[in-house]
């Protein structure tokens, strides 16, 4: 469902993503791992057509990110880092705005909101202004907007960042539940999360793919915890870029 071919992007002299290629199929949960500034967010931003690659391309559900960016965005759900939202809006009006953009109207909208609001546990703050919400609630609202149209492809940049342990558990359960019939790409720093929900993992450093394997295989090959594997692989390749944005 996702095909990435030699994707490359640099910011001035800094190469953020250096010719990465991979494929993700339906039913897979791919964990994108890497130190800060490794190029994970840049790669995700290119996949969601927010920034254009310098060279290479990718396709999502058969739509090319360069030729059909609007179709790509229509088919995928994206939760960006820091869940950017409109602070002056209420949760309800924000979700209605997303429904407007995604052309979910009438009865379908009512059904969608009835499904997504309890799924992301945001019923209690539905009428509240977003700027008054805690980081965890903002994150869950971001997740709600990404899932609102029940997309086939989900791209989640640190989905459990800022959530308390209970909420983290709920989000992981939700991802596991959705994994069967969706293609999910997650970027995270929490290695236990990778072990818990990812069926495959790619480790990136300095914009290059260092490892493409499964968490279980990695642990078996190196004979240590995933945490130790991550340190071993990324340290031997030096630190990432200073800035990723």
């Amino acid at each position: 469902m996702i095909q990435v071919k030699e994707l490359r992007r640099s910011f001035g002299p800094v190469v953020a993503v250096d010719g990465i290629s991979f494929q993700v199929e339906k039913g897979q949960v791919l964990g994108l791992l890497g130190p800060n500034g490794a190029g994970k967010t840049t790669a995700m931003r290119m996949l969601t057509c927010f920034i254009r690659p310098d060279s290479g391309t990718a396709s999502v559900c058969g739509y090319d990110i360069l030729k059909n960016p609007i179709e790509v965005r229509r088919t995928l759900g994206y939760l960006a880092e820091n869940s950017p939202v409109y602070p002056e809006m209420t949760v309800g009006s924000f979700l209605n705005f997303i429904c407007d953009v995604r052309e979910i109207t009438g009865r379908a909208r009512r059904k969608t909101l009835d499904r997504i609001v309890p799924t992301c546990s945001i019923e209690s703050v539905y009428h509240q202004t977003i700027e008054t919400l805690s980081k965890g609630y903002k994150r869950r609202l971001g997740l709600a907007q990404a899932l609102i149209h029940d997309p086939d492809v989900l791209i989640l940049d640190e989905p459990t960042d800022g959530l308390d342990p209970n909420q983290k558990h709920e989000v992981r359960k939700l991802i596991e539940k959705m994994a069967e019939d969706k293609c999910i790409v997650i970027s995270t720093h929490i290695l236990e999360e990778v072990e818990a929900i990812c069926s495959r993992t790619i480790i990136i450093a300095k914009g290059k793919i260092l490892v493409d394997s499964t968490p279980a295989k990695l642990k078996q090959e190196h004979g240590c915890s995933l945490d130790a594997v991550f340190r071993k692989i990324t340290k031997s390749n030096g630190p990432g870029r200073q800035e990723e944005k």
């Binding site: 927010f50 609007i70 965005r73 994206y78 960006a80 950017p84 009006s93 407007d100 953009v101």
Partner: protein, 243 residues
């Protein structure tokens, strides 16, 4: 079209969910009335709105950039631009949605000056045609300034910088047509060039509309300004949205 509508609706609502709209409306309505009465509205003993319309371009130089500065600078600062441009919305739809929402907001502000029309009608027998063309000219000048403000809002993440740059650009477009500027320019520029600078000014086209004459060249001038600056905004935004 749906994406355009969604952005338009959200943007227009956002003016009224923050104090911005109310602060803007109060200040705009106060100064538009104050300047009119201060500059001899009664002393002229004429039931028309010339004094009112005469002051609007100068008032717009400061007021319109204050509406426009947040359009893109805030989106980039808060990071919501990443949300907006990862939804199925094209840059053109987003720019036009925001531009027309802000233009409609300015139209509402101008509509709220209706007590001025009632006053003039109460005091005498004004030429309604002149008042209507005055309002049309004011709307076009507001649209022109808004397009300039929209562009500078996309240039910088900082709203203050966007505001200052827009005010300077709008002031240049107004002052270029002022007699004092024209006289000064004629001391060292050839006559043809001075006339060209004058014809680029908002003031010159506004004055002819205000006289009740709606000519194609005046409408085309404002449309060209609006389309040009909005197109430039789209290009800049496409380049700088992720920076």
């Amino acid at each position: 079209m749906n994406s355009f509508n969604a952005v338009f609706k959200r943007e227009l609502k956002s003016y009224f969910t923050t104090p911005l709209a109310y602060v803007f409306l109060v200040i705009f309505l106060f100064f538009s009335g104050y300047l009119t009465f201060k500059q001899g509205f009664y002393e002229m003993r004429q039931a028309d709105m010339r004094t009112f319309f005469m002051n609007l371009p100068l008032l717009f130089v400061f007021m319109v950039p204050s509406v426009a500065m947040r359009l893109w600078a805030e989106e980039r600062k808060v990071g919501s631009i990443e949300l907006l441009f990862t939804l199925p919305i094209t840059i053109k739809q987003a720019v036009l949605g925001k531009f027309f929402a802000a233009w409609l907001f300015l139209t509402i502000a101008l509509t709220l000056t209706f007590p001025m029309v009632i006053t003039v009608c109460y005091l005498g027998d004004p030429d309604i045609g002149l008042i209507i063309t005055g309002y049309i000219g004011s709307l076009l000048i507001a649209g022109g300034f808004l397009a300039i403000g929209c562009f500078f809002s996309a240039v910088s993440k900082n709203q203050v910088i966007s505001f200052v740059l827009s005010v300077v650009a709008c002031a240049i477009f107004v002052y270029a047509g002022m007699p004092t500027t024209m006289n000064y320019l004629s001391t060292f520029l050839p006559q043809g060039l001075v006339a060209a600078v004058g014809s680029m000014s908002f003031q010159e086209h506004f004055e002819s509309i205000q006289k009740g004459v709606i000519e194609f060249k005046d409408i085309a001038y404002y449309m060209l300004i609006i389309v040009g600056w909005v197109a430039a905004c789209t290009i800049v935004l496409d380049e700088r949205k992720a920076s």
